[in-house]
Every structure is written in C-alpha cells, then in structure tokens.
Symmetry: C2
Subunit: 135 residues, 2 copies
DNA sequence: TTTCACTTTAGAATAATTATAAACTAAGAT
DNA sequence: ATCTTAGTTTATAATTATTCTAAAGTGAAA
C-alpha cells in the first residue's frame, strides 16, 4: 500500500493523517501479507526504531481508531493481552498457546454444515472458529 | 450435586476440602444447570452473603485450582474479564455483547464439515465456535 | 494431640488499559 | 501566508484485573 493510499485510507475514515497515524499505518499496512500484533509489540517497534518514538497512549488511541474505522480487527485469545489483525476479512484462526502464535485460516477452509438458530429476537453477527493447537 | 459428592470431587482431584473450597464448590456445582461466571461475580456473591466472606485471592486460587482439576473451563470473550463455565464438556457459545451474556451451544448443534489440517507437526487440541449476536 | 505441608488472607505488586489535562498541529477560514 | 480551532498527542495519573508475598491458620496423617 502506497503513501498516497495510506493518506486516502485515513482521510476517508475521518482520521486526520497526523505524523503518528501515518507512521503506524505505514508499518501496519505497507506489506504484502496481513499479520497479527499486540499494542505491546507495536510499541516495542516504535521505541526501538527510536528515530520516532510514539507515546504509548497514542498507539492505543490509533489502534482503536483504526479498529473502529474497520482497518483492524480484534482477535480474542485466552489470556490478558489483546491481539489485533490487519486481516479484516471474515476468517478464522489457529492458536498455538505454546508460542502464543495466531495463524489465519481462510474463511473457505472451514465449512459449517449445521448451526443453531440465534436465540430470542437476536441475529447472528458473525461466526468465529478458533482452533487450539497442541504438539 | 450433594455435599458428599462435593467432598469426593475435591478429594479425588487432590484438593483438600477446606471450608472455602467447599463453599465455592457448593455454589458452583450444586445446581441443575451449568452456568457462566467471572471472578468478580463470584466475589460479589460471597461478599454480599456476608455470613462468609472469602478473600478475593482465595477465589482466584480456588477457581484456578478447579480449572486445573477440570471442574471448570475458561471461555474466551473479547474484553478484559475472564469468564468461567461450569460446563466442562466440549461445547460452543453464543455471545451477546449488548448484555455480555454467554449462552451454551451443545456440541451436536454445530457440525463442521470441512476443517484445515493443523500446521507443521502440530495437532488440533480443540475447536471452539463462537457466535457473536446482534439485535 | 502434635506436626507440617497445604491454604487462606490482607495487602502490596504487576500489567494492561483508560482517563486527564496541558501542549501541539492539521487544515479550513481569513 | 497567517490565524484559529477542533482534533491530536503526550506524559502522567488512575483504574482494573490478576498475581505475588509472607504471615497466620488448618486439614489430616501419624
């Protein structure tokens, strides 16, 4: 994803393209493959890449802003840290608790044949399949 | 589940049946249906039922001991609090984020037709289907 | 009953996240 | 180009969930 597209992406979702947001967006979206991260890992990256330290609060703000705008999705993983995913399409996950590693599963690689009806006046928003791995 | 069974349940899993553990176990397991709770809700119950205040640390200890013994399972729900489930059989969940309510789905009510192979030398430990609800 | 490893407890410590409020800045108006 | 201001960033404090600590308490085997 090119710089111009990053600016477009931000502006089109009502986010002013500040220096910090552009930097974070470049890091997250200027790559071939989607990936998973935590606020901690993002922060570590920007701390080490000390040329441009971004405040931790800004990283939280930005990640949440991106999530609200639909540019990131949140993945639930047992444990305390919150994982984010730059893959915002509907998909599933393997989780390896040994390495704390998340692996995407294409939505077409899982077919659900039977599913229960949603309860009382509710509707199904989405279905997430989470496959825990062991050795 | 009767008192005698509770004592048996504790002892058979190597847990000394202390006053606190028995009280918590009675509250969790002496009921018809399985249910979901958080450490916070459990603690609230024992605080109000002031006859027998149990230390918060004890509630954490006990819940984890029960989980390790296989008497409770942990459910992953987006957000910060950890949910536990007295239903330790293999099953799935509806989650209503409006009310933060979890609803069990019997394992037989979901049939998965196609599932990907586990990656590199890993095996599938279990498959959890999480259905998010909306209005 | 004595003993001791296992437990409970209050409170401190840690960790992830959110709130605060002062300083800063993108971008439309002048 | 400069001014203005609402939206942002920042350091720091606050909050929340959970774990740690170490002292006091207690089942249960001998």
């Amino acid at each position: 994803m090119k710089k111009i597209d990053i600016l477009k992406k931000l502006r089109s979702s009502g986010l002013r393209p500040t220096k910090q947001r552009v930097e974070i967006a470049k890091f997250l979206f200027e790559r071939e493959k989607t990936f998973h991260f935590t606020v901690e890992s993002l922060n570590k990256f920007f701390t080490k890449k000390s040329a441009s330290k971004i405040a931790l609060a800004t990283i939280y703000n930005t990640v949440h802003a991106f999530k609200t705008a639909g540019h990131l999705s949140e993945v639930e993983v047992r444990g305390n840290k919150t994982y984010f995913d730059t893959n915002v399409s509907n998909h599933h996950h393997f989780y390896d608790s040994d390495t704390s590693e998340l692996i995407d599963i294409d939505v077409n690689d899982i077919i659900i044949q039977k599913i229960p009806k949603a309860p009382n006046g509710k509707k199904i928003k989405n279905v997430e399949v989470f496959i825990n791995l062991k050795n």
